[in-house]
Symmetry: C2
Subunit: 230 residues, 2 copies
């Protein structure tokens, strides 16, 4: 068989259609979810992050009292991480958000993670950053039951990312910090570009997105998505 | 030249890389915006829709008084459409949203368009629908300065769509109601699947997304994106 450009183009279209898993997607008619093989190692689940705060020991002391401790409300999928019973108010130049959950355990540096819409409510424009990359990020006031702190930096919109163990990364041929695309099914499906791979010991294989990303793609906790290497 | 599977796979990868326009995207480093040729007919601009209400004559009478008229605050890009000075409160079983903008002119049927997050605030789960497709959608209470109405249906999350003239659709080879993919650049870029083409006389070439979709993809009004046929 002679392979013409037409045949190649057809193959490309077929590959694209398969890759997107949305062949049957019609306007207004949500297709069935992407259902790759249960053993597909590129398939991972989604964890949706609402706005939250990580606190340093010093800020914990200021907000909840000297020597105070966080109380575990619910374990997160990432080993050792948990949502605490404790909440705070965060206050910007334009507005405030109440009952913002504190995540434990305590960290070296305080960090506030909000959505783009939260930034408008607060009156600040937090940059899109990986956790811990706080240079030049806007400050914020945090108010707790014992007192308040005015942070000079540390408010970010979290860059979407995928946690995985070193052995998973090795199996998938991915490196820590590498950007991948993620295919998402459903009526609001598509491809999320620039999803960062985070490789660490004691991590659970899971993609983290914020609430706006989840809603925009029709995603809920534990939904399945598929990594596509670039 | 013999065309092997390897060659075809390379072509597929090249096509994918070109199609996505994000070859240079690195984690944490926003790439330059997608910058297709200024004459690329598949390139269109973005209009971000915040929550809003379309009112029927009867509901306008109930909310703002018999024979009342909408007052034009700002023209929309779609010819004849405008944001009105008038706002209402919408109230669901769990909560309410104030200062929701009314869009004019009046329509045959009242329709309330909210985000997924707004649905949680209100305590309802509006379906993803094209404008006017209201069957089985949840009701809502609308409160105006003159009175209130309890709608039995009509609350939706708008399905993202692209307005265009018949001649634009003909040029692009697209039909009314057809679903396309849309490529978006930037650090939160990717591909929006299932974007519906709306062909009508007296329309402006523009893609409409809601606030959560805009924030999730890092889009603002008038940003440029590119249609990709399926």
């Amino acid at each position: 068989m002679e392979v013409t450009q037409e045949i190649i183009e057809r193959i490309v279209r077929d590959v694209l259609a398969q890759g997107f898993g949305r062949k049957s997607c019609q306007a207004g008619l949500p297709p069935p979810s992407v259902s790759p093989s249960p053993r597909d190692p590129f398939q991972t689940s989604v964890g949706v992050s609402n706005r939250h705060v990580h606190l340093s020991r010093a800020d914990m002391d200021s907000l909840f009292g000297p020597g105070s401790e966080l109380h575990r409300k619910k374990a997160m999928k990432q080993p050792g991480q948990f949502a605490a019973e404790e909440t705070v108010t965060i206050r910007g130049p334009k507005g405030e958000l109440r009952k913002v959950r504190v995540l434990g355990p305590l960290r070296r540096d305080t960090q506030v993670e909000v959505s783009v819409a939260d930034g408008y409510t607060l009156g600040i424009a937090p940059p899109l950053r990986m956790s811990g990359q706080l240079d030049g990020s806007p400050g914020i006031e945090i108010v707790g039951p014992h007192g308040s702190v005015q942070r000079g930096y540390g408010t970010i919109v979290a860059l979407r990312h995928i946690h995985m163990l070193p052995e998973t990364a090795a199996q998938l041929g991915l490196r820590n910090g590498e950007a991948v695309d993620v295919e998402i099914g459903g009526a609001r499906g598509g491809v999320m570009g620039g999803v960062v791979v985070r490789v660490a010991d004691a991590s659970a294989y899971e993609m983290h997105v914020d609430v706006e990303e989840a809603n925009a793609f029709g995603l809920k906790n534990d939904d399945l998505v598929r990594i596509r290497k670039r």
